[in-house]
């Protein structure tokens, strides 16, 4: 961009001054249409949410200014603290676990040169294509007291393990989390498969000649080569885990008690049902900041390591 006008108007020519002025504005004019739309639909609502979060407002009557009150509530309210804690646990189920499984799965698929790789890739990716609501309903059936999981457990004589998975104070969180793992694994695997396909086979041959086995290959060649893909996968899945709403809304409504509630669900409850719009906005803003910081950290770490 910068080189173009300089070539057309050499130094000392009369048009130089205006050209430079034009140069300063032109890029912004190009950006403007997109920026205006972005500002209207992203930045304005975000600023408005920040604005609302400073008030105690029921959505109807006159709001009262409470400053950072809604934010300090997030720290003092045990239910909200728990909600953010659950979101943290979901990072494990949505991001860490799928990345672990995905790495191994993709490595095996790449190195084993299995037949029908395309079919397998499609199958693994399938959960990503299904709407989360459908996934939730299906898993709700599986986890039901008379559901598939308990039936299988009973048939192999593990009656003592059967329970109402989504109604259990201890097991409901992992049960819901594993639905997230099931959904995320496909995305992660496909991303990593793409990355591994780019590794030159000479590298593997050289490693084999040096006497490296499958495990060493995995640690020293495969994992470092897909660092960029892994970062993308982690970023996407972590954002998804922190934003989780539909899964909770459809399965447990945050229950039993508040043992599976998450920030997004609390935002919805407070904004639309209990008339605590200010508090809902504060949770939303906090969640946005946390997502921003976590993704920033993931990207920084991966850049530093590269």
């Amino acid at each position: 961009m910068r080189a173009l006008p300089r070539a057309s108007s050499g130094p000392g020519t009369p048009g130089r001054h205006t050209a430079r002025q034009g140069r300063a504005i032109t890029p912004y004019l190009f950006i403007a249409p997109a920026f205006i739309i972005y500002a209207a639909f992203m930045l304005y609502p975000l600023a408005r949410a920040v604005h609302l979060s400073l008030y105690d407002w029921d959505g109807l009557s006159l709001a009262t200014f409470v400053g950072a009150g809604n934010y300090t509530d997030i720290l003092s309210d045990t239910r909200l603290r728990a909600a953010f804690g659950h979101a943290g646990a979901f990072i494990f189920f949505y991001a860490v676990l799928p990345c672990g499984i995905g790495l191994v799965l993709a490595a095996v698929l790449t190195r084993a040169k299995a037949r029908g790789l395309a079919l397998f890739r499609t199958l693994v990716f399938l959960p990503q294509v299904i709407a989360m609501v459908v996934v939730s309903v299906a898993f709700k059936q599986i986890y039901a007291p008379d559901g598939l999981l308990n039936t299988v457990l009973r048939s192999i004589g593990l009656d003592s393990l059967t329970r109402a998975w989504l109604g259990d104070y201890v097991f409901s969180l992992p049960a819901v989390g594993l639905i997230g793992s099931w959904v995320s694994t496909g995305l992660v695997t496909v991303l990593l498969l793409a990355g591994m396909a780019r590794i030159p086979t000479e590298l593997f041959e050289a490693a084999r000649l040096d006497g490296a086995g499958a495990v060493r290959e995995f640690i020293y060649i495969i994992v470092p080569s897909v660092r960029a893909e892994l970062t993308v996968a982690l970023t996407l899945t972590i954002v998804a885990s922190l934003k989780t709403f539909d899964l909770i809304y459809m399965t447990t409504s945050g229950g039993p008690g508040s043992s599976t509630t998450v920030p997004s669900y609390e935002v919805y409850r407070r904004a639309f049902e209990t008339g605590q719009v200010g508090s809902a906005a504060a949770i939303g803003v906090t969640l946005t900041i946390i997502i921003f910081l976590v993704t920033l950290a993931v990207n920084r770490i991966s850049e530093r390591g590269a």
Partner: protein, 454 residues
């Protein structure tokens, strides 16, 4: 411009924009001031004299029979008054709950809306001055004679929104709801049991069913609120009705931590501990529970009259319904209520027309239309009862509760957050995570926190 300079400019712009917004008016400042009751104004009852008018109505009567009655009544209204056009906007209960807040605070508000009785909906609207008190029209049309006081109170708030269940009339409901007990007649017979005539007999029947190896009570409580419809009737049988009304309407003057409330909570905890419920209630779907009754996997199902149609479809004459009174022969004290009342918005252009419409859809003829379309009319219920079947039981129970017994409010009406508190605490109580004392303390904290803040 250097990247750093660019960032700085952007940051400056963002800060400026934010400052501009913060200095702007507080949210909600464009809302109208609560309108004073317009007493003394002359009321026009003759719709034919009102000229060409359009009435915008937002309702949630979307399901089969509900939609049918609304369509019929609207058509009848338009036929009677050709000068009126009804613009109907019909949404599901959930959708209406979300959009109504925005619709009422906007400039283009509808004339008549169906607003949920609860404090977090109707109460909030009354407080914000967005609904019109209808006392003058109630007098003109004789609504206080048309409705029993126990039913009308569900649509009454003080004009400042602090008291629920008394004060100005803000709307009228079309249908009623009553929470009671569904049962399988064959199952009861095979156990050698009669339909329990009072609460003690009901508890005895549950115990007998358990002894004989049946699942006495069916409950699906993954949604959190269904257990409220089990606790409600228990509380109705054990706690004085006046106390429950105060607790349920969220008015000051009662306590959750009373011995009676604790005994009611203990009963539910005992039922759960003794294995009277199906296994894993907190992980079972609401729908799965009533379906179990149709499959003969349980004896009793405590729940609302709205399930009658589905159960009758599946079980035919086998299903029955009763609401056990504390003492045999008296009317039961049980949870129930009305359908969502039709209210008039403060921004309506023609309150007389809106009131005339509400009068029309709740009059005697309308009750017949409601019964004909399979709804539970809130008035003259027993007169419209079908000859047999579970609907006859439901109609009879509702009439008996509203006239001889007490219709108790849903407990989550009480405070904006009570739905969460009640749902979470009942799940805890059923699971054995918290005991009856902790349950009543959690409820008291929510109730007292709200009533003291009023």
């Amino acid at each position: 411009m250097s990247p750093r300079g660019k960032t700085r400019t952007l940051a400056l712009a963002a800060t400026a924009a934010l400052a501009l917004m913060l200095s702007a008016c507080a949210p909600g400042s464009e809302a109208p001031a609560p309108s004073a009751p317009q007493s003394g104004a002359t009321i026009e009852k003759d719709v034919a004299k009102m000229g060409e008018q359009t009435l915008t109505v937002w309702d949630q009567e979307v399901r089969g029979g509900q939609n049918e009655q609304m369509t019929k009544l609207n058509a009848a209204f338009e036929a009677k008054y050709p000068n009126i056009t009804i613009k109907r906007n019909s949404q599901s209960f959930e959708d209406l709950g979300k959009t109504l807040r925005l619709a009422l605070s906007g400039t283009d508000a509808p004339d008549v809306v169906q607003a949920n009785n609860a404090r977090n909906t109707m109460g909030a609207f009354v407080k914000a001055g967005q609904l019109l008190p209808l006392d003058d029209w109630a007098k003109a049309y004789g609504w206080t004679d048309r409705y029993p006081a126990s039913v009308l109170k569900y649509s009454q708030y003080s004009t400042d929104g602090t008291t629920f269940g008394a004060g100005s009339v803000y709307g009228l409901p079309q249908v009623g709801e009553v929470v009671g007990v569904f049962y399988s007649k064959k199952k009861l017979e095979s156990l050698g049991l009669e339909v329990p005539a009072d609460w003690a007999a009901f508890e005895a029947a549950i115990a007998t069913a358990k002894e004989k190896g049946e699942t006495p009570l069916l409950l699906g409580n993954i949604e959190k609120w269904p257990a409220g419809h089990v606790f409600g009737p228990i509380q109705g049988a054990k706690v004085p009705a006046e106390a429950i009304e105060k607790l349920g309407f969220g008015n000051a003057g009662a306590s959750w931590t009373s011995g009676e409330n604790q005994a009611a909570a203990q009963t539910l905890a005992d039922w759960s501990a003794k294995g009277y419920f199906n296994k894993g209630v907190n992980g079972t779907d609401y729908d799965a529970a009533w379906q179990k009754l149709t499959k003969g996997e349980g004896v009793f199902l405590m729940g609302g009259s709205w399930m009658a149609a589905d159960l009758a479809d599946a079980m035919g004459e086998d299903v029955g319904f009763f609401a056990p009174p504390a003492t045999a022969g008296q009317g039961a004290h049980t949870t129930g209520g009305t359908g969502l009342p039709f209210t008039v918005t403060a921004k309506t252009g023609n309150a007389d027309l809106a009131a005339a419409y509400i009068d029309f859809i709740t009059n005697k003829d309308a009750m017949k239309v409601l019964a004909d379309t399979g709804n539970l009319p809130v008035l003259d219920t027993a007169a419209h009862a079908p000859a047999s079947g579970v609907l006859k039981d439901v109609y009879t129970a509702f009439e008996s509760v509203t006239t001889d017994g007490v219709l108790l409010p849903y407990l989550d009406y009480a405070t904006p957050t009570m739905g969460d508190t009640l749902g979470d605490s009942l799940q805890g109580l059923l699971d054995g995570r918290i005991d009856a004392k902790a349950f009543t303390e959690a409820m008291e904290a929510d109730y007292a926190g709200f009533t003291q803040g009023q």
